[in-house]
């Protein structure tokens, strides 16, 4: 009997992994443009971080006539090295997305000195063919926190109460995410020091069910608006918001289109744009080799996205003006945004 149960469990496991990513990923490449490999620690379809990077290379394909292939590791640590090697063998520019590649990319970059590596979301210096792009997530999140703090007492909107509680669901408790958290909290306090920020970590970037669970907890603790920084897990946050009549802030891409009725704005991390820019720079030959390129508010690497004009806008013009004001102050250095540890 026990054996049956085990077999069943085992099967569930295999089948569930098999069902997770059944979309066909690699784009067949033809033509003779520059070859770009896009290596993802996770997989496409997150409508967030990885999809954004994909948009960047897609745009580069349109504008510069490059060819590209996508290499997904699907959060399997044993594939990081293999996919990176395969991409390096194929392409002359390899865009690497995911903090997980920190060691591997340094190792492999040394093995392929003729390949340019664009490593997104980390900071490595001193390897000639490796350009890292670091985002000031804290700066963008500061704006998100400020907006949330302004909205949380806006009782004219149905579903928002007087309580000054806002929330955040993080994917995994790691430095990048804590950098979001630091900015978010600081932004909220900047508007109103009495605002309470509740933060939960789902422990996963790929599990919407956990996102929903955590968001539901936050909403039940009185949060009106929850900032999701959890990749695919964040889709569960949106679901919970829709079911409970509450609100959410999206992340990485401008996610309002997913559900404009509950997503008030998105902290856009322009991964795609930065990859696009760097590919352009490499082709033009003006890159800082072995350097870290920072993308903050100043470089338009992060911003707050309000969706398109046909969507209902929860943020009033006054609020947007206030956000612009804060943004200017951050760029000028008047406001110093703390970093996550």
């Amino acid at each position: 009997m026990k054996k049956r149960v085990l077999i069943f469990l085992a099967l569930m496991l295999v089948v569930s992994t098999a069902l997770v990513g059944c979309q066909n990923s690699a784009t067949p490449a033809d033509g003779d443009g520059v070859k770009v490999g896009l290596v993802l620690a996770g997989g496409l379809g997150d409508r967030s971080f990885y999809d954004s990077s994909h948009e960047g290379v897609e745009q580069a394909k349109k504008d510069f006539g490059i060819e590209y292939k996508v290499y997904e590791c699907r959060n399997d640590s044993s594939l990081l090295n293999d996919q990176l090697v395969q991409a390096s063998q194929y392409a002359s520019i390899v865009a690497v997305v995911g903090f997980e590649f920190y060691d591997v990319v340094q190792e492999i970059a040394k093995e392929f000195p003729d390949v340019y590596y664009i490593y997104v979301d980390n900071e490595i210096e001193g390897i000639d063919n490796l350009i890292t792009i670091s985002y000031a997530e804290n700066e963008g999140s500061f704006l998100a926190g400020a907006l949330a703090a302004m909205l949380t007492t806006e009782t004219s909107i149905e579903g928002i109460d007087e309580g000054k509680v806002i929330g955040m669901v993080g994917g995994v408790d790691i430095p990048v995410i804590r950098n979001f958290q630091a900015g978010y909290e600081a932004g909220a306090k900047y508007i109103d020091p009495e605002v309470e920020v509740e933060v939960l970590f789902a422990g996963d970037f790929e599990d919407p069910a956990k996102g929903k669970e955590n968001a539901t907890v936050l909403y039940s603790r009185g949060a009106d608006i929850v900032f999701q920084v959890a990749g695919k897990t964040g889709e569960g946050v949106f679901e919970a918001a829709a079911e409970l009549g509450k609100f959410a802030i999206g992340v990485d891409s401008d996610q309002r289109y997913i559900n404009p009725d509950v997503i008030v704005a998105s902290m856009v991390k322009k991964v795609g744009k930065s990859i696009y820019d760097t590919i352009e720079n490499i082709q033009k030959g003006n890159v800082d080799k072995g350097k870290v390129v920072y993308y903050g508010l100043n470089q338009e690497g992060v911003e707050l996205g309000y969706g398109t004009d046909d969507m209902v806008q929860f943020a009033t013009e006054d609020m947007k003006a206030k956000i612009e004001d804060i943004k200017a102050k951050i760029i000028s250095g008047e406001i110093e945004v703390p970093k996550g540890k």
């Binding site: 026990k2 149960v5 085990l6 077999i7 469990l9 085992a10 099967l11 496991l13 295999v14 089948v15 992994t17 098999a18 997770v20 990513g21 059944c22 979309q23 066909n24 990923s25 690699a26 067949p28 292939k69 290499y71 959060n75 399997d76 640590s77 044993s78 594939l79 090295n81 293999d82 996919q83 090697v85 395969q86 194929y90 903090f99 997980e100 920190y102 060691d103 492999i108 093995e111 979301d121 980390n122 900071e123 490595i124 995994v172 408790d173 790691i174 430095p175 990048v176 950098n179 422990g203």
Partner: protein, 360 residues
Amino acid sequence: MKSILKKGNLEYLTSLFISILASLLIGALIMMANSRSPLVGYGALITGAFGSTYSLATTFAKTVPLVLTGLATAISFRSGISNIGGEGQLYLGAFAAAYVGITFTNIPGFLGIALAILAGALVGGIYAFFPALLKVKYQVDEVITTIMLNTVATLFTGYLVNYPFASSQGKMGGTEMITESFRLSRLVRLSTLNTSIFFMGFIAIVIYYLMEKTSFGYDSKMVGQNSLFGRYGGIKDKKQMVVAMVISGALCGLAGVFEVIGVHYRFLQHISPGYAFDGMLIALIVKNNPIGVILMSIFFGALKTGSISMENAIGIPSELVSVIQAIIILFIAGETGFKNIYKNWRLKKLHQGKVGEENV
């Protein structure tokens, strides 16, 4: 080897072979349904897994953790106690190795490696000891406790690497890198294959010997098959289960150790993509046979390595391989599978002949 080819085993091997063939066939049908040629697809898979020194090395690199976790499962299941907590033991073992690697930085390399291996095995073993104790003392179902302890271990190590042991370099959930002298050297350029495969080979031989050639292995098998019979024959069945569980935990811990000192050179928050569960599947498929575990691990490793190449080369999603694995398990683990279909078919043929004769 001879004993593997006994009649019962032969029957099983036939059905395993047919199962694999059938699942590959279904895989081919899926490819065809997506208008891809299965010949090209499987061609890419085979080349990707065995086509060059690099791909061969990558395949074998993948088998190291699978063999260890597979043997871990085999030894516990055979003793009648189910260790589903391999993943947790692996994480703790890996962390223990990393801890050794970043703490005892001024001892000689070979000593450090030995210490890391010992620490990982010890921690994994201890972590398996408690659910085993609960099982034999208080009849607490070990399936449930070990599954739950997985979560405890992954969350605990997740906390450790993000707070007290967080790396100062880069943004990542990981510890500092271990001392250079403790790192096992790579064997083939670009591949993560490293000398841990020799350690694994040695461990596999020891475990094989233990399971198949010793009174300990005999006792385990008997207790697993019929614990009352074992006790009646003078085996301390509870002790046997606990020891088997501890060995199982130690093996999983070792799988973690080699991920740290051989592959990543540090502990990472998500260091295992579920090796212990893959190992469990492997052990289930080969019915806890240690040699079977090794062969099936190579097969699984090849499937994984090859599937990536297949995906990159011709765009067939590597998930197809998961489907293939699932089908194999469906056929094999259900224990009816093709064995009975084949038997019935053969019997019918036999009997049709016989009835015909009688009628004449």
